[in-house]
């Protein structure tokens, strides 16, 4: 093999066949999926997410949440995803057609979040973001104190100020409250919007799962 043009063609061919065979054919096959209703006249799914949740998605991206959390659930019979109650069915390509960029993730230092909106409680989530040790001692979730501000309590406490557990060292001094910033509110709104609570023609809820409670976890901790 000494001929440069011939080698060039061969190297290009090796790459081009795989790109066509894998990526291009995938794009042709399912790159144009549209939201669909499982029954005639029903709501089509997936649904786009609302504005605040879109902003929260940006916060999710720029904090790098994908390096510890996946948003893809493996189907029934594979691993413990459904048994852990992470969703009622495996995720399929149509679930992601309205997302750009797609946030599948590839590492689970923390639980899967594809259906977190169905499992979480907003206030616990705020505490969890502020310092995960407050609700899940031993967790490796980084503390995101910079998503909150500590401010003097005004005439009345802010409705969604954090309520720290009794005697917590993280609690602000008397007369002060910790309030989520817009970014935290948006992020939690985004997490709330993450739901796989609908069926698709190619993906229906697995029978008998999804009712498992994740035993032993702190209450309301996903």
């Amino acid at each position: 093999m000494k001929n440069l043009p011939l080698m060039f063609c061969g190297l290009f061919f090796a790459l081009a066949t795989s790109w066509c065979g894998l990526i291009l054919s995938a794009n042709i096959q399912y790159g144009a999926l549209q939201p669909v209703a499982i029954e005639q006249g029903d709501t089509v799914y997936p649904q786009p997410i609302a504005g605040v949740a879109q902003q929260g998605r940006q916060v999710y991206i720029d904090l790098g949440c994908i390096y510890c959390h996946t948003q893809q659930v493996r189907p029934a019979g594979v691993g413990g995803d459904l048994a852990r109650g992470w969703a009622k069915r495996g995720t399929v390509p149509r679930d992601y057609i309205l997302q750009s960029p797609v946030l599948l993730g590839s590492s689970r230092m923390g639980p899967d979040l594809a259906d977190i909106g169905d499992r979480m409680d907003t206030h616990t989530n705020y505490l969890h973001l502020y310092d995960a040790q407050l609700v899940a001692p031993g967790s490796t979730q980084p503390p995101y104190r910079f998503l909150f501000t500590t401010q003097k309590i005004g005439d009345t406490p802010t409705p969604h100020a954090l309520k720290f557990p009794e005697g917590s060292t993280e609690a602000p001094p008397a007369g002060y409250e910790v309030v989520p910033t817009d970014r935290a509110i948006a992020l939690v709104a985004y997490l709330h919007s993450l739901k796989i609570d609908y069926e698709l023609p190619e993906a229906t809820f697995a029978p008998g799962v999804g009712n498992a409670t994740t035993s032993g976890n702190a209450t309301a901790h996903p």
């Binding site: 096959q29 399912y30 499982i38 029954e39 005639q40 006249g41 029903d42 189907p75 495996g90 399929v92 390509p93 069926e199 023609p201 190619e202 993906a203 229906t204």
Partner: protein
């Protein structure tokens, strides 16, 4: 620039020392020696070199494994197969849609505004559907009314009505009409038979585009009170367990009539209701 003194470079010794590796083979020698080793033939010897045989066996084994693996686990190269152990002939899609559910949805989108959520209509304005002889009996009457509308004076269940029902044939498909009529004929206390999509298609074709009829014309075509001559072929709409078919069994059994459902071969509205999983009838007040 640094070609200053070729003579100096010529005899500059290779750097050496404990931290150094001598290059025992020059670059051209490297290329020539290897080219020679590729070109030269193996000396004839007793026995054979195991390496080429081993490589051939490895290559063959890998080829077979790859081919068999792809054959077994490629899900027919379909876009909607996500189960690695899927086999062709197995069902890919989910349960077929239930016409009672589809019909209920269409009813609430289209019919409910006038005929009211419990099918009781509004006195003097919109006739009731609950227990109405116009709905029961032969389905052709109801199909024609939905397709072409109704305009004029009529007395229904003791009330006088003189309005106009719009023609819905353009906005609803045959399957939709069959589904919503199946729903209406099986709800609000009605116990008439289900409606097939084919019946709707036949009537649509035969009617053409006649425009709304008057109630009297309609009654001349299909008088009230006559038994439904299609009932022997179909079970009651909404009656999902009466035929004795076991729940979830999609092949006909027991008293279920013609119209076997085989897996993957269903279209909305074309199902005898008894062969379906139990319909979730909407909570409609009688």
């Amino acid at each position: 620039m640094s070609d200053a003194d070729p003579a100096k470079k010529l005899f500059a010794p290779e750097p050496a020392g404990p931290a150094m590796d001598p290059a025992r083979l020059s670059d051209t020698a490297l290329q020539q020696v290897h080219a020679a080793s590729t070109a030269e033939k193996e000396e004839p010897a007793v026995g054979f070199s195991p390496i080429p045989v081993g490589m051939i066996m490895l290559f063959t084994a890998l080829t077979f494994w790859v081919a068999i693996y792809i054959g077994q686990h490629a899900g027919g190269f379909r876009w909607n197969v996500y189960d690695a152990n899927w086999e062709p002939g197995g069902e890919v899609a989910a349960a077929p849609p239930d016409p009672m559910k589809v019909g209920a949805r269409i009813f609430s989108n289209t019919c409910q505004q006038c005929h009211h959520i419990d099918g009781m209509g509004a006195a003097g304005q919109y006739p009731p559907l609950a227990g109405s002889p116009w709905v029961a009996g032969t389905p052709d009457r109801a199909i024609e009314i939905v397709l072409e509308g109704l305009s004029g004076q009529a007395t229904i269940l003791g009330g006088d009505y003189n309005g106009q029902m719009p023609a819905l044939g353009q906005s609803l498909s045959d399957g939709d009409i069959a589904a919503v009529l199946t729903y209406v004929r099986g709800s609000f206390g009605n116990t008439a038979s289900a409606v097939d999509e084919q019946e709707v298609t036949q009537i649509r074709t035969s009617l053409g585009s006649r425009g709304p009829m008057s109630p009297d014309e309609e009654l001349k075509r299909h008088p009230l009170g006559q038994p439904d001559n299609t009932v022997a072929a179909k079970p009651a709409a909404g009656n999902t367990t009466a035929a004795g078919a076991p729940a979830g069994n999609t092949t006909a059994g027991g008293a279920a009539p013609a119209g076997n459902v085989t897996a993957g071969n269903v279209t909305a509205g074309n199902l005898p209701a008894a062969n379906l999983p139990a319909a979730n009838l909407p909570a409609v007040a009688k």
